[in-house]
Amino acid sequence: MFSPVILITAILNGLLTGAVYALVALGLTLIYGVLHIINFAHGALLSAALFAAFFAFHLLGLDPYLAALLIAPIFFGFGYALQRLIIGPVSHGDDRNMLLVTLGLSVVIENVLLYAFRADTRTIDLPYAFQTIDLGFTFLPIPRLIGFCLVFAVALVLWAIMRRTDVGKAIRAVAKEKLGAQLAGIDVAHIYAITFGLGTACVAIAACLLIPTYYVNPTVGDAFVLIAFTIVVLGGMGSVPGALVGGLLIGVVESLSGLFLGESLGQIGIFLIFIAVLLVRPTGLFGARA
């Protein structure tokens, strides 16, 4: 019922959107894989990072892609401090408490943003925001193409950290064998905080990739995190490749269901998939055991 060109365009656009979803999901799944909690503050942190990218452009005149080099380390430190100084001490090592503390943090962060910046929706104007690249049969928006490539660069860096550095290996050790890691001299509280920091840095980079073509308000992150949660379940809880593949897949599903069912119903496909995964394959595409 649609011409192949329209279908392919929809799929390509879905992949571009899905890459940013994947990055948000990557942060979520990383934290889940090591701390074994769903970080409910993830969306609020995304909103905060979008504000950071917004103001970096408005006040400092920083291009969002450049600002990522500044905002990602800042949010890494912020995430580290949140886990080390608030979430960890308050929860006394109990996973359920950690979950609730992140939920509380999300309320606090969103309301601080609301108080500071009001509920207004803001955007930035970049000269290249609407530039496209001509593929012959269709056009692709350049900012989102850059975003797509950067997501994979980030995933590659993350992979290298996890495989090649002592800290990355310590993260993987803590994820599966906490007591063994402690007895090897690994400081678990430090590793938890580093993981939370890395997850938060993922969100910060995602914000910098989103802001050129998206908007920001204090609760904008929530919608992304609902999708990211779906991706994490689809890809397998704690699985990094699962988050990447799942993100791309969800992006395409959203784009195609938008095409077939109408733009306003675009997200219905995502949640149909979510329910289907829970019914048929609860461990997700790349999940090992629950």
């Binding site: 290996k169 310590a170 050790a173 994820a175 007895l183 090897a184 001299g185 690994i186």
Partner: protein
């Protein structure tokens, strides 16, 4: 006391929640010595080990290691001092290769000599060398135990706590294991051996303590304890 002990524990109390597991434990280990801690299940052997390595905090009493008081320190600091605990159940990293498991053994200590220590471990456990790129979770029980001990040796321990190392191993492997323990001591490492395998522990150990209900009811040279049938019947079920 001739030479100052490497590990000196005085009136140690520890437990979980309302339960007090250790009720006044006194223990010394001298450099290069093998000391066995014997006792049946549930008398507090694992709690003693976990308190020494800082995973469980002492409630009262003192732990001196290498001349420093360590009862208020956490595992990273204690590992850095050279007190290495190879836990019961091995606790290796199943999702990582044999090589990576060993690398993390030198995460906190002896990192500059990682390569040469790995060679030393492979020299002692040649079977691990054949499996460097294999995931630790796929190893046999005996190989996992060797990996756990190897990971401990990577930190160049001054004192190695071995917690039930023979648990779940075949009799042949148990023989092999006790030969390794003697070799590790020959390299100058003191060993605190916590075991249910009484006969073989007493053969390899210099001294032994018998733990019952959270305190030591008896201590002495391994030979003396091995020769005391009354004692063995009362506390060790032999």
């Amino acid at each position: 006391m001739a030479a100052s002990p490497l590990l000196a524990v005085q009136a140690l109390h520890a437990g979980y929640g309302k339960t007090e597991v250790l009720r006044g434990v006194d223990l010394t280990v001298s450099p290069g010595e093998i000391v066995a801690v014997l006792g049946s299940n549930g008398v507090g052997k694992s709690t003693l080990n976990r308190t020494l390595s800082g995973v469980v905090r002492a409630r009262a009493g003192a732990i001196h290691f290498d001349g420093v008081s360590i009862e208020h320190e956490g595992p990273p600091m204690i590992v850095a001092r050279g007190l290495i605990h190879v836990p019961e159940g091995r606790r290796i990293f199943p999702n990582m290769t044999v090589s990576e498991n060993l690398e993390l053994g030198s995460y906190r200590r002896a990192r500059p000599r990682r390569e040469q220590n790995r060679e030393r471990v492979f020299g002692m456990f040649p079977r691990l060398r054949e499996r460097t790129t294999q995931y630790a979770g796929t190893l046999s029980g005996g190989e996992q135990q060797m990996l756990a001990i190897g990971r401990g040796l990577m930190a160049e321990p001054k004192l190695l706590i071995l917690d039930e190392p023979s648990l779940g191993l075949s009799p042949l492997l148990v023989e092999e294991l006790f030969a390794f323990i003697a070799r590790i001591r020959a390299d100058g490492v003191a060993i605190l051996l916590v075991e249910q395998n009484v006969v073989q522990s007493l053969e390899v150990a210099d001294r032994a303590y018998i733990l019952a209900e959270g305190t030591f009811v008896m201590s002495g040279t391994a030979a003396a304890i091995a020769d005391d049938p009354e004692l063995k019947r009362a506390y060790l079920g032999l």
